[in-house]
Symmetry: C2
Subunit: 331 residues, 2 copies
């Protein structure tokens, strides 16, 4: 029983940091979901500490036509950075093939997981942002913000200006230093902790911060904006109220979580009928995306495990073709 | 993020095939369960093919005082041997520590999983078999049968005679050849496919066959016998009807499965009140085990994931102290 063990280095060496290909895989995963080609059991979420919200989630999913079933195993420990100088998140993926049922790959997952989230946001932007969007503004400048920038630039190649704001000016600085290497046609501005100026005059807003502070105000948002909500509760309730369309990756999943619009639903401030569409309905052409340049559109995703497994399986196949990783005979 | 990758060889080299220690770990896991020290979410079971019953189960569990949370990922593909000359079962374990939430070990699991099942049967025998049991009879001679023999000999050291029956005389022959190396004080008899003679005059009966055939008859069972039902539907309904006590590892879990007594429950042939105890109640002294030498006692387990994780964690710690396995820096 050989299993391919894949480190993040193995994945990078195999060319898995390719956002253009990854976006195709992610879009295809939504098509497969819409066509009933995915296996999608409930996730298993265990919170070990109510106060710290330390948790490990197990997210199994399969894609029948790809002959693969697997899972993401992800830990979220918010206090890790402060207490141990370690990342708050860890993730690994396990994949099995469906002919014999044997596991085939065990891989580092923080890169894949981050790319998945960013690609889903970018896929939403493909259908919901103005095609000629030029200005983007970030609240939060961490790994998720960077991944979103890279993915969004694929679907919105005309992006020319990028404002970055963050509680610490330093992390915005790091964002800019790293991202300007990838896209030299974009001019970056470090807005430090002036969140308003970072997002006031942009076509795309991304909020990706840790912590639960309703920073983004409805007044800051201009007509025609696409807003991709990545974190938890980082926008005031009137933001979603102002939206012409609210789109989710999967509203049925979102509504039971703790995001801003989930909380609004739970408080009775938002009804099922206030949600315009789930992302796969746009991908399948069942509903229209953006219909004019004035709409303000709000997107919220919580992450679908079949997208994770589709992306991890794509990465696995890349490592096979590049002969990367360590193959271990388990028995 | 270093993860220890453990093959079956690594586990064997670290001394994990120690049934005596493993039994202590398994008994302790039931104590921990009774004391509320385990995290025990529902398993995720996906059947890919109704006809073949090909399936992959994901069984997460944690033990708080051991600072560990993990899961067993097990595939059961009944047609593998015939179609691909490969085992019908594969299993791997993933373990995370609960201080930072990071994964620490990824290990081959068929050995651990097999030892777990056998140790639970042996633990039941410790409380439910006659202390001076000398004769044991097997229906089925595969890996599970062998593991049960090794585990049972630990709790019933007076076993002197072992009858082995199987659909194929060859597998009984292999059973005997392998087992007589471990326990030279036992005399073995190959009963071939004469199931009745294998179990007619014994103190302990183990049925561990694949397939769904009600081979074991109530008439064959003598007074004072302990019967450990390992497989699915291998005994006629009147066996359980004849039992003075029926004990499970966890009746609430058993009753929703497809074992003999599960089917009897679903057909209305067995009520909740017909079940004498769950195993942890015997371990904790809340209920008496065997009370005299005449009782015929029926034991059925389906496997509790916290026992899996407890045993896997014990194995992991052994490999750490023996410096075995391959440590891979995942990122």
């Amino acid at each position: 029983m050989p299993i391919r063990i894949l480190t993040q280095e193995d994945l990078i060496r195999s060319g898995c940091l390719d956002y253009s290909e990854a976006l195709e895989v992610v879009e295809d995963a939504f098509v497969k979901y819409a066509k009933g080609d995915v296996i999608f059991p409930d996730k298993v979420s265990v919170v070990f500490n109510k106060e710290s919200q330390n948790r490990i989630n197990c997210l199994p999913a399969g894609i029948i036509s790809e002959n693969v079933y697997g899972m993401k195993w992800v830990s979220v420990y918010p206090e890790n950075p402060k207490k141990f100088h370690k990342p708050n998140l860890s993730a690994v993926y396990l994949l099995s093939e469906l002919t014999t049922g044997f596991p085939i790959a065990f891989m580092e997952g923080s890169m894949c997981s981050g790319m998945r989230t960013a690609c889903v946001g970018a896929l939403a932007a493909k259908y919901l942002a103005k095609k000629n969007s030029q200005k983007i503004g970030f609240i939060g400048a961490g790994e998720q913000a960077k991944a979103h920038f890279l993915a969004l630039k694929q679907v919105l190649p005309k992006l020319r200006s990028c404002n970055v704001s963050s509680r610490t000016a330093e992390s915005a600085e790091i964002f800019i230093k790293q991202m300007e290497q990838y896209h030299k046609d974009v001019s970056f501005a470090n807005c430090k902790n002036d969140f308003e100026s970072a997002v006031k005059d942009v076509d795309i807003i991304i909020t990706a911060i840790s912590g639960q502070e309703q920073i983004l105000k409805a007044d800051w948002i201009k007509k025609g904006c696409f807003y991709c909500h990545v974190a938890g509760l980082e926008d005031e309730f009137s933001v979603a109220k102002k939206a012409n369309k609210i789109v989710c990756d999967n509203w049925e999943a979102v509504k039971h979580r703790t995001q801003t619009i989930s909380q609004m639903y739970q408080k009775g401030m938002l009804k099922d009928s206030d949600i315009y569409a789930d992302l796969h309905e746009l991908v399948m052409g069942e509903k229209k995306g953006r219909e004019n340049d004035d709409e303000f559109i709000y997107f919220n995703s919580v992450g679908m495990s079949y997208v994770d497994v589709a992306l991890a399986n794509w990465m696995y196949k890349k490592t096979v073709s590049k002969e990367q990783g360590t193959i271990i005979e388990m028995r």
